[in-house]
Symmetry: C2
Subunit: 254 residues, 2 copies
């Protein structure tokens, strides 16, 4: 796992759609919606409890938007938060994209134009892939019984996914923790992770609102190595992706 945690220099700029392109001119409603700073720790608690209602993607979306509904009101009160409930378990249990990342990305893209959502979402994808989750903060909150929902309050093992994919994230944690995917501990692990992702998202949205957000993470060294040959505009040119490679393809250097 040496490549997974290591952040290398450089950014792989493989975007094939220009982030600066504006489509607001044809929007039928004003966009982006007016973000106001909210409390990341309150959003964490909201997300955790929302997970136990309706899964991770709803938790990611509602964890950001419920506090905005309460603080700002319209237009945030006009959108049914349930519309993002489909994304749990990587879309109805298919194990693709982590639902929490999906949900917060939709929330971010509601309050930021594409140019400003891009660095936040890139940072989140890298952070999620490289971080030990659930965080100590989420574990401590559970031990302090600060969550309304969920049956597990003990400290839970942590793991580094190396990938934003639900299946890799969950199965890696299952291997590290020894817990089956159908145990309450696994559900609670994902609930705490949802809180972690939402709190991190809100913190960076707040920093960006103050003009202080700086992205600092890069793709893993192994992924950069793979893309230096397989990425767009590179010799092979057959891969349009940034997620970790070694989780599926193995490490060619080992």
């Amino acid at each position: 796992m040496k490549y997974v945690a290591g952040a290398a220099a450089g950014v792989v700029g493989t975007t094939l759609f220009p982030e600066k392109k504006a489509v607001a001119d044809e929007a039928k409603t004003d966009w982006p919606w007016p973000y106001e700073k909210i409390d990341p720790e309150h959003a964490r608690l909201v997300a955790h409890d929302c997970f136990h209602e309706y899964g991770c993607c709803y938790a990611g979306f509602a964890g950001v938007l419920k506090p905005l509904q309460d603080k700002v009101g319209e237009p945030f009160t006009t959108i049914p938060l349930e519309m993002m409930s489909y994304g749990y378990g990587g879309v109805k249990g298919w194990g693709t994209l982590c639902g929490t990342l999906n949900g917060v990305s939709a929330a971010i893209s509601l309050v930021r134009d594409s140019k400003n959502s891009a660095p936040l979402i890139q940072e989140l994808m890298n952070w999620y892939s490289q971080e030990r989750l659930p965080t100590d903060v989420s574990n401590r909150y559970a031990e302090e019984h600060r969550y309304k929902a969920g049956k597990v309050s003990k400290l839970l093992p942590q793991s580094v996914s190396g990938s934003p994919l639900c299946h890799i994230s969950v199965t890696t944690w299952s291997g590290v923790s020894g817990h089956r995917v159908d145990e309450p501990e696994r559900l609670e692990r994902c609930a705490r992770l949802s809180g972690d992702v939402v709190a991190q998202t809100v913190q960076w949205l707040n920093e960006q609102a103050e003009g202080g957000f700086l992205s600092g993470r890069s793709l893993s060294a192994s992924t950069e190595d793979c893309l230096s040959c397989h990425g767009p505009r590179k010799p092979e040119g057959n891969v349009f992706a940034k997620m970790g490679c070694v989780q599926c393809h193995g490490d060619p250097h080992e």
Copy 2:
């Protein structure tokens, strides 16, 4: 690839969140929104052109919702369609979930409660994984110059992804077609695929509106075989996923 195209009997019921659970009681706005039948072929054209504006996820979302904005008006005109633009290339180019599947799933989940969205989205994920895409219809439309956007009008090669992941879908097509991921043909392939996914989605939404939607596809035989041991409530119990396994793990029977 023998397992990929083959549909086996049985449905893997690995859902860990009950689809029947209602959260509408706490919705601040009525949900689901009132779907009215729209023309799948018109939606296909809308989606194709939207792809060339803002990518696949926007195309999937707007391909369904723009026709509903035009036909129904409010509440569909109150949601900024750009909120789903983040999902292109499997979320800002990360190669995770195919953005079109993400976009149409959000649209479906806006007009269907969770119980009714589940069979549609499960069917779409299987259909996408098993179908030769882009379809003959999309290719014919291009040759007939029925799309407003896009620079490529020739017939394009087709491929079966075996997976709903963007990276696998795109790289498989790149291998079959010989086109690099950064060529206009690859972008146009994904534009036509977006139209295909949207047209199929609208057709099934229309059928469901008339009470006639029947799901018929199952997971691939190889995935069912893997999950019979690794899935939830099975002996190993370390996988919560339904996407194709052999694309990353190889086929243990070969």
